[in-house]
């Protein structure tokens, strides 16, 4: 999956390791197998170079809530690009835009009203949600529809965001952020406190995160930079890249299945390691004197303890994947 997050330019290199193999084996396969593989090459040929004029109608709604310390904002977006930022006011501000695009203006005008919107406070929670609702018997919308949220909250306001087929960008939250996304890449910058992210088919990017961070990523790449605090990351069918750690890193636990794990940091010798790779390999610099506890074709297990009294613990376990420890990020080596 590509990373559409504008905060970072990292891109998932599509875990097509099999695709890198020599395809000479195909010559020994039956005709249907060759067709199955070669037929895939036709994908994308249907894109027509044809110009179309679209009517774009944007419906904009704004709402502001007074903020109290116990409030939490819950956002449930569908096909929505959500931007969450902080400000110094004791208010929660929501700006929502619904967009309909269609060659016929009347169709776009009708379809934009099919997007429904809820923004209300129930006790201590402010709920925001968008969805499509069409009266029974009416035709489904024919336009291309989407939503955009800009949410401004005080930095201590906890936020829970659930997003389906959209994008999310979050900056400067200081207390609690929970995220559950599907097919929605999410980018975080300068977010602190309790951070709980769960993503399926949506890459996770984080820069300057600090606190207790839990990430569950399925078919999503995780890219983190300048991390502090404690991290517990579980990744399935996606790579995890830690581009750099800051002085405040306390613990880093990563579990991966069919995932490659990369840790880039110039101070690799300052950390303690317990690394395990089942059906995979572990790569590390030669000056990192790892002790091999197991070293078979099936499993490799190494440990290292620095001489310092206190040090961050890095525990990584992967199955069907590799572990890479490197001092420099790939772009720094160039």
């Amino acid at each position: 999956m590509k990373n559409w997050n504008p905060l970072f330019g990292a891109c998932w290199d599509c875990t097509l390791r099999a695709g890198k193999r020599n395809l000479s084996w195909l010559s020994t396969k039956p005709l249907w197998a060759m067709l199955a593989v070669c037929g895939l090459g036709f994908l994308g040929n249907g894109l027509m170079a044809q110009t179309t004029n679209l009517h774009v109608i944007t419906k904009r709604l704004e709402k502001t809530f007074k903020y109290r310390d116990t409030y939490e904002v819950n956002i449930e977006g569908e096909k929505a690009d959500v931007s969450i930022e902080t400000w110094n006011k004791d208010e929660i501000s929501l700006t929502v835009e619904f967009i309909a695009k269609h060659p016929e203006k009347a169709t776009a005008e009708t379809d934009i009203e099919a997007i429904k919107y809820i923004a209300e406070r129930v006790r201590n929670k402010i709920y925001v949600r968008n969805y499509i609702s069409v009266p029974e018997g009416d035709p489904e919308p024919a336009s291309n529809l989407s939503a955009r949220y800009v949410v401004k909250v005080p930095e201590n306001c906890p936020v829970y965001l659930k997003n389906y087929f959209g994008t999310a960008n979050v900056i400067n939250l200081a207390k609690r952020f929970r995220y559950q996304g599907e097919f929605s890449p999410v980018g975080l910058e300068n977010v602190q406190g309790s951070i709980d992210l769960s993503s399926r088919f949506g890459d996770v990017s984080g820069k300057r995160l600090d606190g207790n961070v839990t990430i569950n990523a399925r078919r999503s790449n995780v890219t983190l930079e300048e991390i502090k605090g404690r991290y517990s990351i579980e990744s399935n069918y996606g790579d995890v890249r830690i581009l750099s750690a800051s002085a405040g890193l306390l613990d880093l636990n990563i579990t991966g299945t069919k995932s490659d794990i990369f840790l880039f940091d110039p101070r690799l010798l300052d950390y303690g390691y317990a690394l395990t790779a089942q059906h995979g390999s572990i790569y590390f610099p030669s000056n990192l004197k790892m002790e091999f506890l197991k070293n078979t074709d099936e499993i490799k297990k190494v440990e290292f303890q620095p001489r310092a009294e206190y040090y961050p613990n890095v525990t990584i376990s992967v199955t069907f994947g590799d572990i890479y420890l490197e001092k420099e990020k790939p772009d720094q080596r160039r």
Partner: protein
């Protein structure tokens, strides 16, 4: 030993009155003896019945009850020994005055209820405040854009579906593939990707096709292709 006054004694005994029991006494005795004879088999049968000991907790409960009774009795005894005091006579008029006007007491209750209701309303108002946000004002803007992409015509991701499914079926049944440590993983991965593809297709139906959805579909399709290559390589 020889009785020296034997004659005198015999004479005295012969002069003593003789008593006979009433006839019904003998009848009663006779009935009792008959009853004993009748109940003899019953008693012998009773003796042959098995004996059962009650469970220990019954005794504990009985002991507790007895103790409670004893404690209650002690309490009652202690209460009975307490000195009794009668209030001074001048107190009764004051007490009667305090409880006499029932109408006023009712009025107090109504006031209290009203106060409670007001407090409740205030509480509800606090917990469920009025619309604190400004009412929603929708504004519309109209624009036009030109696009070169005709997304409606791009639906080629299902073209190789039959062949791909055939490859999966071959892989599923292949005895060598079944020995692979990745066998189950690859199949579950295939199912995952199929579900994901259906989800993207549904979103395309609901929200229309756009570049992002097309890209997501393409990425899933690429992954499926990679998976098929991996499966075919193992067959």
């Amino acid at each position: 030993m020889t009785e020296q006054n034997r004659t005198t004694l015999k004479d005295a005994l012969s002069r003593m009155p003789v008593y006979a029991p009433p006839a019904e006494c003998w009848q009663e005795i006779g009935r009792e003896l008959d009853k004993d004879a009748r109940e003899a088999p019953l008693k012998s049968a009773l003796n042959e019945l098995p004996g059962y000991a009650p469970p220990p907790q019954n005794w504990a409960r009985i002991a507790d009850t007895l103790e409670a009774d004893a404690a209650g009795q002690r309490l009652r005894d202690a209460l009975s020994k307490l000195p009794q005091y009668a209030p001074p006579a001048e107190l009764w008029p004051a007490i009667e005055q305090g409880i006499r006007p029932p109408a006023r007491r009712v009025r107090m209750t109504v006031l209290a209820r009203a106060a409670a209701a007001i407090a409740l309303l205030i509480g509800l108002w606090w917990a469920w405040p009025q619309q604190e946000a400004a009412p929603l004002q929708a504004t519309y803007t109209y624009d036009q854009q030109t696009t070169n992409a005709q997304f409606a015509s791009i639906e080629d991701w299902g073209q190789a579906e039959a062949l791909m499914q055939k490859a999966v079926n071959e892989f599923r049944e292949d005895p060598v593939a079944k020995q692979l440590p990745t066998y189950e993983l690859l199949l579950s991965e295939w199912a995952d990707l199929k579900d994901a593809q259906e989800e993207v297709a549904k979103m395309m139906e609901r929200y229309g096709k756009d570049a992002q959805l097309i890209r997501q579909m393409s990425e899933i399709e690429k992954e499926r292709s990679g998976l098929i290559r991996e499966m075919i390589a193992q067959i």
